[in-house]
């Protein structure tokens, strides 16, 4: 479970998997669970082996694990705030499991002294500019994974409409390919658009790690601006969770996840699945939402979106062994998913909404994962996680009739229904374009603790995508001469971790080596010596090598004030289009293009937690700068290239992002929780000596969350939680800043936005059923994310969760 403890060399994994070996078991492992009286997991309960230095805290599933226990008899004590401390005498002669059920202690409840460190706090104190989103509560509510990310400090989601629409992620102002997203450390490009943050429900997720600017070695990729890592649930407790949610816009979301472990053999079956559906037929209005009549006369209307439905289904099944001698976890699994999304409009809402344009995608992957602590020798930990499979994406646009915002066939100026001149909804002609990809990704990590203070970690990720394009609407001839693109990426990271001065100083130094090979195969016709035409492949390849390095440091000046600072020379390798161009856009290859580079700095403080009686306060802040060089882009159109087929991507200019993130957490008596964050930055780019502010960038955002818990409100031992959240985005413009006294600026402005949500969750006394009701955007304010594209107004959702933790 310690995600950054495990690293490895790729070769090793092959050797390890194919060679049998024996462990010299001098020490044992003690693992188990701490539950409340109704078998609900207690998170952060401390577990101590009396008379030794050994101890730990439980994770979100109430699970704990203590390694390195020598044979003998021990007293194991566990305690949790508000519960009676319990001790058990246990004889340990092999790996042993133990379970505690703690009784509530009403008297102790008023004396809140929190000890121990959660995984979240632990990661947050490593020195990186990192936020950890715990999904436990959100998983039971009607909250999307993307919404959860959007309310996090320094993160902004730009989504082109409702559920399932295209999303772009911005971290401290850097977005697009500067932000890398992972699922369990595997690049999300492996999974494609059917298994992504739109479709994976928070209930399948253990936590989300957001690394800003500086990315630790165990997540290494060419992430220029940062990385988001989705850590799926991986506890080895038997459990089953299922939930179903229904609400506005005919939105249905169902998910389940479960695990069963045979205690004798350690054989474990783990499965999870989701299904999402929404009509997304929310109301929109605005200057382009109109119906056109005779002569082209325009009548503004309030319309319901009519070609925006979304459906996705997916699941993961894994079989293997957990907590056995030769593996902490070993799984072989299968991940499958499919996705269907109608597209109502392009980047903007225009007067010509699309009918019948949609995308669909599928992914089918096999998975192998292996984790083992103390492999061969004590303190040598290994993790392997690999996927191999196929995925495809298709865009269909074959409807030629024009439609209006009323969802009906549009009429032309003569009053007749009409077809678009270009034969499709989106300009550019009908398409059934399909991209097939073979994908493979394997991440291996190996770590070795030299002693309590020094640790070395080695990490390697190999990522490979072979891409083939085709379009059913095109002839075989045209499809044949569409090129294929293969991309192979190897990234190696070496990390050295030191902690000193009684854990007050934690540092990690890392170096990263990037290698990317891209191959383009373009078929061409050649006339052979026999005069017969034959097809030959023209192969061009490019190999890019680069290095990066960085560090993270945390120092507890006093226990309540920790300095957190990190820096990285980050790299983004050019993608396949930037290297090879794209036939459709007349962009040709530039194999000499350089990677984008950025020097990223974070300087932050964590104040807290301060405790006074029942009050608890934590304040964190981070100041950051990003200095990008060699930005990749297309040159401007000039009279020299306007007719050329010779446009190519070039390195042009630099960019900077500077700003501050501030976060404030207050808890009262474990009943009232308040979180507030604010983020502000300046994003500028410079081309040929001229610097401008980047338009279409929400540079100032604020989020607030308030939660209050009532216990025993309706039934004894039940829990009622009230939630309120607010999100604010300051006004921004989608053209560059104008002069001091200009008029007409309003046309380009996205006005400031304030959305407020309310929610209530009721947990039944047995804690197996949680019912949640949420109202989003209670005041029905217009909300926009991207280029003024309107998002849903007020909406209502009801969700039912069912969990069992004991079989």
């Amino acid at each position: 479970m310690k995600i950054n403890n495990n690293f490895l060399v790729p070769l090793f994994c092959m050797v390890l998997l194919t060679t049998s070996y024996e462990l010299t078991a001098q020490v044992n492992k003690l693992s188990g669970f701490v539950f409340g009286p109704s078998n609900e997991p207690l998170v952060g309960a401390s577990v101590i082996v009396d008379g030794t230095q050994l101890g730990t805290v439980t994770d979100v599933h109430g699970a704990f694990q203590i390694t390195d226990i020598k044979n003998g008899e021990y007293t194991i004590s566990t305690s949790y705030i508000g519960y009676k401390t319990e001790s058990k005498k246990i004889a340990v002669h092999a790996d042993t499991q133990v379970k505690f059920n703690l009784m509530e202690n009403a008297a102790e409840l008023s004396m809140v002294v929190i000890q121990g460190t959660t995984e979240k706090t632990k990661i947050e104190k490593e020195g990186f500019a990192v936020d950890i989103i715990d999904t436990k509560e959100a998983g039971q509510r009607n909250i999307q994974t993307n919404e959860l990310l959007n309310s996090s400090v320094g993160v902004k989601i730009r989504q082109n409409g409702g559920l399932g629409s295209n999303v772009e992620y911005s971290l401290n102002g850097l977005s697009g390919s500067a932000v890398r997203i992972f699922i369990d450390g595997i690049p999300i490009s492996t999974f494609g658009s059917s298994f992504n943050l739109n479709s994976i429900p928070p209930s399948m997720i253990d936590r989300i790690e957001i690394y800003k600017g500086v990315v630790p070695g165990h997540l290494s990729d060419d992430a220029l601006g940062g990385a988001i890592n989705i850590v799926l649930k991986s506890s080895t407790n038997n459990h089953l969770n299922a939930s179903v949610s229904y609400g506005s816009f005919n939105t249905l979301q169902a998910s389940f996840n479960g695990l069963y472990r045979y205690d004798n053999s350690g054989f474990t079956v783990k499965a999870s699945g989701f299904h999402n559906y929404s009509d997304n037929d929310y109301k929109v209005s605005g200057r382009s939402v109109l119906v056109t009549g005779l002569g082209g006369v325009q009548t503004p209307i309030t319309a319901r979106r009519f070609n925006d439905a979304y459906s996705s289904t997916g699941g993961v099944i894994q079989l293997g062994y957990t907590d056995v001698k030769w593996a902490d976890q070993f799984y072989i699994g299968y991940t499958g998913s499919s996705n269907y999304k109608e597209i109502q409009h392009g980047a903007f809402m225009t007067i010509s909404p699309y009918e019948g344009r949609f995308t669909q995608s599928e992914a089918s992957l096999v998975n192998l994962s292996y984790q083992k602590q103390d492999l061969f020798t004590k303190d040598l930990d290994l993790t392997i996680n690999g996927y191999y499979g196929k995925r495809n994406t298709q865009v269909i646009d074959t409807v030629t009739w024009a439609y209006n915002w009323a969802g009906e066939r549009a009429i032309d100026f003569r009053g007749n229904e009409y077809k678009y001149s270009w034969g499709s909804q989106q300009e550019g002609g009908p398409t059934e374009a399909r991209i097939d990809r073979n994908v493979a990704s394997i991440r291996t990590g190996l770590s070795y603790s030299i002693n309590d203070h020094h640790k070395i970690l080695f990490n390697h990720v190999h990522n490979r995508i072979d891409r083939e394009d085709s379009d059913k609407l095109r002839s075989v001839l045209e499809n044949t001469f569409l090129g294929t693109r293969d991309l192979y990426k190897n990234i190696v990271a070496l990390t050295y971790e030191v902690n000193a001065f009684d854990e007050r100083l934690k540092t990690s130094l890392f170096g990263k080596y990037y290698q990317q090979k891209t191959i383009s195969v373009d078929p061409a016709i050649e006339i052979g010596s026999d005069g017969v035409k034959k097809i030959v492949d023209e192969v061009v390849s490019s190999n890019k090598i680069n290095n990066g390095y960085g560090f993270a440091l945390s120092y507890a000046i006093i226990p309540e004030i920790t300095l957190l600072t990190s820096a990285e020379k980050a790299v983004r390798l050019p993608n396949e289009t930037e290297i090879f161009g794209s036939d459709g856009d007349n962009v040709v290859a530039n194999s000499s293009i350089n990677p984008e580079l950025s020097k990223n700095f974070n300087l932050g403080f964590r104040f807290g937690s301060f405790k006074l009686n029942n009050h608890q306060l934590v304040v964190t802040t981070n100041l950051f700068t990003r200095n990008i060089k060699d930005r990749i882009g297309l040159p401007i159109e000039t009279s020299l290239n306007v007719d050329d087929e010779l446009i190519l991507y070039v390195n042009q200019g630099s960019g900077t992002s500077k700003g501050i993130d501030l976060q404030f957490n207050y808890t009262y008596n474990k009943k009232l929780f308040f979180n507030f964050n604010v983020s502000k930055f300046d994003l500028k780019i410079e081309n040929r000596g001229v610097e401008i502010d980047v338009p279409n960038t929400p540079f100032h955002t604020m989020n607030a969350n308030l939660q209050y818990s009532f216990k025993d409100l309706i039934q004894k031992k039940s829990k009622l939680d009230l939630f309120y959240s607010l999100s604010f985005t300051d006004e921004f413009s989608y053209i560059v800043p104008q002069g001091s006294n200009t008029v007409g600026d309003d046309f380009f402005k996205v006005p400031n936005q304030l959305a407020q949500d309310l929610g209530v969750s009721y947990t039944l006394p047995k804690k197996d059923i949680v019912v949640s009701f949420d109202v989003k955007n209670i005041f029905d304010k217009p909300v926009y994310d991207n280029l003024s594209v309107q998002k849903p107004g007020r909406a209502f959702y009801l969700k039912l969760n069912y969990s069992i933790y004991k079989f």
Partner: protein
């Protein structure tokens, strides 16, 4: 106030006087002109293109600012459209047109959520442009990034065009065997819409497949872009400029380095927009679709059309009253200017047949935004062209996006300013060749001016 302006807007003299008061009272940057304007005064609207991402890309907004023609000619007047202008509602550089008297600006928004929307504004001086009439969109017919132009029919009509293409392949009834597949031709379907500028409504829309000759098609040539419609003298035909592209017939992939064919124009009946034919010049080669500025003009009963990307340097071609290229008219800019690789970026004749022409050539310096531009004075009758030396040139003086010239009698107003530097309005007397330096144009970093309207 608005309705008062509307009532009297045709009375030029009063409107100008009032407009000037409005602009003076609202704006401190402009030097007040106390002398009452004479009746022949008109508005000169300066268009400025702010930098988006790259110097000279003009994608950061198109700004308008109007001054009287007297002020425009006065070098002591200084205007700063980037600070005080009106931002035309267009996501990318707006394609502007103005009424012949300069009192109305027509705009069709280019790309973005309102791409294809037609709006018109009454010019009232300074940053004051009052929207008039209802809005109408041509996007359903020609897309949201329309190539449109105002026709010279007394400000009554605008025309916009679109072309979509599709490759036609014969698989020889063996869908699995690619080697015997034959590329047949590429179908180019054009759409043309005419817009009633007065009543803000659609007049006519037609679509046609426009073929080339069988030989040209077999070689893979096709119309890939069309633009710059213009009426003939009789007003019964409309000419559309065109660019040809070519695929490799073996693979149906885009070709390059191929032979440039004679310049072509698509001719349609007007106003019905029916009966497309293609005419081909044997004098000029290359494209006739221009870029952002009107590329063809009617003069003395014939249409004079510039071409671009001509391997022999740009020509001005003549289409006679018989609606055919007059190949006896051979006006080559390389020869006339004594340069290599002349490329006409924008041009505009006055009624006397003498024109101001913006160009670059192979010897142009490479400036911050591309090849350096120059202005020349051209005589369509004499087929002569001479670089105007009274206008200052700079390597960063960039005219590719240049859009507008005001013709006032024999005088032509133009803007001059290198990218990111201040410049001036210049007034060229086409008859005498005298160049008058006019009002100062205050620039901002990375930005440039794209003409007068």
């Amino acid at each position: 106030m608005k309705s008062i302006f509307l009532i009297i807007r045709n009375i030029t003299f009063i409107a100008l006087a009032l407009g000037s008061i409005v602009s003076c009272s609202k704006d401190d940057d402009i030097t007040p002109d106390p002398i009452p304007m004479e009746t022949e005064s008109r508005w000169i609207t300066v268009a400025a293109a702010r930098m988006g991402e790259n110097p000279g890309d003009g994608n950061g907004g198109t700004l308008l600012y109007s001054i009287s023609s007297e002020d425009a000619k006065d070098p002591t007047v200084s205007i700063a459209p980037f600070d005080n202008g009106f931002i035309a509602p267009s996501n990318r550089t707006a394609r502007l047109q103005s009424s012949e008297d300069g009192n109305t600006i027509f705009n069709i928004s280019y790309a973005g959520d309102t791409g294809g929307n037609y709006t018109k504004y009454t010019v009232e001086g300074g940053q004051n442009f009052t929207p008039t009439g209802s809005e109408v969109s041509i996007a359903p017919y020609v897309g949201s990034a329309p190539r449109w132009i105002k026709l010279f029919d007394g400000d009554k009509t605008g025309a916009a065009v679109y072309v979509s293409t599709e490759h036609e392949i014969d698989d020889n009834d063996t869908p699995d065997d690619v080697t015997d597949d034959i590329y047949v031709r590429t179908d180019a379907k054009i759409g043309i819409v005419t817009l009633d500028l007065v009543n803000s409504s659609i007049k006519e829309f037609q679509e046609h497949s426009v073929p080339l000759t069988a030989e040209e098609e077999a070689n893979g040539y096709y119309f890939s872009r069309i633009d710059m419609p213009v009426l003939n003298a009789a007003g019964d035909k409309i000419y559309i400029g065109a660019r040809l592209s070519k695929v490799n017939p073996e693979t149906a992939e885009s070709d390059s380095g191929y032979e440039i064919l004679g310049s072509k124009t698509i001719v349609l009946d007007y106003p019905s927009l029916l009966n497309p034919t293609v005419i081909t010049s044997s004098v000029g080669h290359g494209n006739t679709n221009g870029y952002r500025s009107i590329n063809a003009f009617l003069y003395n009963g014939s249409v004079y059309q510039a071409n671009q990307s001509d391997p022999e340097g740009s020509h001005i071609l003549k289409i006679g009253s018989d609606n055919q290229y007059d190949d006896s008219y051979d006006f080559n800019l390389d020869e006339a200017l004594g340069v290599e690789g002349a490329y006409i970026l924008a041009w505009r004749p006055a009624e006397n047949g003498k024109a101001v022409l913006a160009y670059r050539h192979d010897g142009s310096a490479e400036g911050v935004a591309g090849a350096q531009g120059f202005f020349a004075l051209v005589d369509l009758e004499a087929k002569t062209a001479e670089k105007i030396n009274d206008i200052p040139y700079d390597p960063d003086f960039y005219l590719f996006q240049y859009q507008g010239f005001v013709v006032d009698g024999n005088e032509i107003y133009l803007t001059q300013a290198p990218v990111g530097e201040n410049g001036n309005i210049y007034v060229v007397d086409t008859e005498t060749g005298v160049v008058t330096k006019g009002a100062e144009l205050v620039n901002v970093e990375g930005s440039h001016f794209i003409g007068t309207f």
